[in-house]
Symmetry: C2
Subunit: 337 residues, 2 copies
């Protein structure tokens, strides 16, 4: 009988998560593969900032992970056994296998990998991060040639795709990234016209200089002080797809203070801004359109992508904690066994 090892949530973190918030559990694997289900050996595990939010017991768009439950996450794996007509042993599939070595999943939640590109791209540039960039930038942001697009976490899997898609759409692209090395990477690897270190005390001034015609699209995946610097620079009819707020995920805020909020509302009115929150699943109907556009460009190298691969299930919590601190370079993936 096989053993299945996985990381469960040991306790809910307050503020930054700690290694002790996770617990590595081994359970015998006696998979009852039922009609419609598929047994998958997870090979690659995606680590993403949204997971921090799932560790809280707070109302959100998805259920929190329960204490003792295996941490959730997207995986690429190999089918070992299938009672679903669309899959057979040996198939490579994308699914939500979680932080563990094996998973039994409903066949209708699995997707076959697209050919001609490395399997890991299904977790990054051609997976949810890449599609998030596409949905937010194209469907909400509606970029037009000559407009200015600003994006945070610009060397991450979402931000780097936003920048490249905006460039393809003829926009001026401005990266926000943490540290000088990532700013260089944003320009050399992902073609940003300018890059600004968000740790700079002169963030507002530097952003103003980098956006001489103001900002038409701000792809929000950071929150906090970057948003503060962006807000006064937004042009009339600017669009702000709100995709994530990673700088706020460790915070535990309450409703207080009105002045700044009143000013945001004034700006929304006077500049006719659109702020729109979104989760990539809201745009499921555009996934095929995205893959048809992006997969050939990834295969040809015209769209660059950067992966940060960590080896072994054991490394997952440390890698995840580093992700929230901005230590990774590119899409963070754990290679399992």
């Amino acid at each position: 009988m096989l053993e299945n090892r996985g990381w469960t949530l040991a306790r809910r973190p307050t503020g930054e998560p700690n290694v002790e918030d996770f617990s590595l559990q081994a359970v015998p694997l006696n998979p009852q593969v039922m009609e419609g289900q598929v047994l998958v050996r997870n090979r690659l595990l995606s680590l993403d900032p949204y997971m921090r939010w799932r560790m809280n017991d707070a109302k959100s768009y998805a259920r929190p992970v329960d204490i003792g439950q295996v941490m959730v996450g997207a995986t690429v794996g190999e089918v070992l056994d299938s009672k679903h007509p669309a899959f057979k042993p040996g198939d490579s599939v994308l699914g939500g296998g979680g932080w563990q070595e094996y998973a039994v999943l409903p066949g209708e939640h699995l997707q076959r990998l697209v050919g001609n590109v490395p399997p890991s791209t299904a977790l990054g540039v051609l997976g949810s991060p890449g599609f998030t960039a596409y949905a937010g930038l194209i469907k909400i942001g509606m970029p037009k040639p000559g407009q200015t697009v600003v994006v945070g976490a610009a060397t991450g899997p979402v931000g780097s795709m936003v920048g490249q898609l905006a460039k393809l759409a003829g926009c001026r692209t401005v990266a926000i990234a943490g540290g000088r090395a990532k700013c260089e990477l944003a320009k050399t690897m992902f073609g940003f016209d300018a890059a600004i270190d968000h740790r700079e005390p002169r963030l507002s001034e530097l952003l103003t200089e980098a956006c001489p015609k103001g900002i038409d699209i701000y792809f929000e995946n950071i929150g906090g002080k970057v948003w503060d610097a962006v807000l006064p620079l937004l042009n009339d009819f600017a669009r702000v797809p709100v995709c994530g707020l990673v700088s706020q995920y460790n915070e535990d805020a309450s409703y207080e203070g009105e002045t700044r909020l009143a000013l945001l509302m004034r700006d929304i009115l006077v500049k006719r801004l659109t702020l729109r929150g979104f989760i990539v699943t809201d745009f499921a109907q555009y996934r095929d359109e995205f893959l048809e556009m992006a997969a050939p460009l990834v295969a040809s190298g015209e769209i660059a992508h950067l992966e940060d691969i960590v080896d072994g299930l054991e490394a997952a919590p440390d890698a995840f904690i580093g992700l929230l601190q901005g230590k990774n370079k590119g899409k963070l993936i754990v290679r399992l066994g």
Copy 2:
């Protein structure tokens, strides 16, 4: 030679405007009607909250009124002389004649009144306020049967139209209004399902009770504490057309305080909210569609409207100050001579 009397801006108010901020000036009328222009005798002057903002020297979607310049405003009037082929003496026209008895206007900025309804409706239910309600509710709010729509200043010309259009769309409608009398009026005259006095200290609780299924559309034309009460009740995918912020027009705020703003951003993300500022002119292409729908319903009485008519140009400043204090009932119009 005729005399033209009009109210000019004497000084910029700080906070609530005062009668001394305006000055009644009489100038000889020697109208040089040039090619394409029309001389109009103003008969009805619309007073609207946005005018308070135009008295400030602040960046907004429209130029501020200069000191010494006649206050701006929409008017219905009678053509006295015309050098524009579309108009002849005796025609009734809608235009931006301002707070004065006569105006010379470019013919292309004038509109002929629609027949079969009183001329004053061109300033209210079938004018910019009614069309603002239509554009914001229908084009941004996209109401669906069974959804809950909340609107402030609910007996005013915009709010009362939002409520009635939402009711026609099959929604539950909740009014916010100032005082018990206006709350009654909202229910009896404009068919709101519930009405809440924004002066109530228990505003949040009362609103929660009135919206057992949450809020799908909040038509924002107030700002401040009403928005605070609405925010936690917004459903996933709620829409917030931001049309005005009358509670904030007298304020002079600066950028400070972040907590509340961070929470708004969290709500935008988690609930996938859309906030979108708009000015009615952004939707000019839908004006005919609006009039075709609304004019017959106003003529038949199926859409109710309420007017608060004040007599004489002299009364304009007092009436306007009262409007900002919520003293009017319905669309405030000054009848000129």
